[in-house]
């Protein structure tokens, strides 16, 4: 399994995302924002950070990077794509996922270990979880409030496209406590919390996040 991990100027979590891929017995392939091809990878992770300094809006400039044009095309053909934190913001700006991420409702940057409920276990990235399972992974973001219009929210809720939901206090004002969503096909997933920081109890709160990368392994092997 070869998984591309994109680095934009300002990306922070590419190294941990690459490590998570290796923990799932995959080969991590670094992709640069200026690349015009995906180097034959089976899947792509858009990691967290502050691409282009979060100028204009989070993800708004990264969405037009050359490598993202390749990612958009591949995702629309069914390639598994995961956006974590800033990566989720990039995928929303790129219209691969509906809605937008906005400033946390209480304005504070939130950095804490966060319980999430797994609600969709049929996406390319979540088959290793039990439906309804609760997992503990870090959340660290200042603009994680998920916003979408009523029609979009209904579409997401009615079709099981809410993949992760915050358990307990809503950390950022996200509509319906939404932490992560998928596209209609289930190959593109975005979430604000960081599964790649929770793959080994030695370096994270749990290893609950590793399931996302093992799920991808199953998806790629089956394909």
């Amino acid at each position: 399994m070869r998984v591309g991990v994109i680095t934009f100027p300002g990306t922070l979590d590419d190294v941990d995302a690459q490590r998570a891929v290796r923990y799932a017995d995959g080969e991590a392939v670094p992709l640069w924002h200026g690349d015009h091809d995906l180097k034959g990878v089976d899947a792509v992770i858009v990691p967290g950070g502050f691409s282009y300094g979060d100028y204009l809006r989070c993800g708004a400039i990264a969405r037009f990077a050359p490598v993202m044009q390749e990612v958009i095309e591949a995702a629309n053909k069914g390639m598994p794509v995961l956006g974590i934190c800033n990566g989720f913001q990039v995928l929303a700006e790129a219209h691969l996922l509906p809605g937008a991420l906005t400033r946390n409702h209480k304005l504070h940057f939130v950095c804490r270990d966060q319980w999430l409920k797994v609600e969709n276990t049929s996406t390319a990235w979540t088959t290793r979880y039990d439906e309804g399972a609760e997992i503990l992974v870090p959340l660290k973001s200042g603009e994680g409030g998920y916003q979408a219009d009523e029609d979009t929210l209904k579409e997401l809720e009615d079709n099981g496209r809410v993949v992760f939901r915050y358990v307990g206090d809503n950390p950022n004002g996200s509509r319906n406590n939404i932490a992560g969503i998928t596209n209609a096909r289930g190959n593109v997933v975005g979430l604000m919390p960081h599964p790649e920081h929770a793959i080994d109890a030695l370096t994270g709160p749990t290893d609950d996040g590793l399931g996302m990368f093992l799920s991808l392994l199953d998806t790629v092997v089956k394909a």
């Binding site: 204009l56 809006r57 708004a60 509906p98 937008a100 400033r103 916003q147 219009d149």
Partner: protein, 79 residues
């Protein structure tokens, strides 16, 4: 050359915590009577004369604003 102003504002139904924080600060600073504040963005573009309105509209809609959460206006002004 022409000057073009693009104003981008959060949609009315979108929570604007930054605007609220500004509004909440005003009474503490001794300024009474301001009942609400919404915070947006103001862009000033210097554009060549052959850039048409359709192009300006596209710049605003696809890049300067996010139509999911923001409204925008485009106007040409005297430089």
């Amino acid at each position: 050359m022409a000057r073009v102003v693009v104003d981008v504002m959060p949609k009315p139904e979108i929570l604007d915590p930054q605007g609220q924080a500004v509004a909440n600060a005003l009474p503490r600073l001794g300024f009474d009577g301001v009942t609400a504040v919404r915070q947006g963005k103001h862009f000033e573009l210097e554009v060549a004369d052959d850039v048409d309105d359709a192009t300006l509209a596209k710049i605003a809609e696809t890049f300067l604003a996010n139509p999911v959460i923001e409204d925008w206006t485009v106007r040409r002004v005297e430089a």
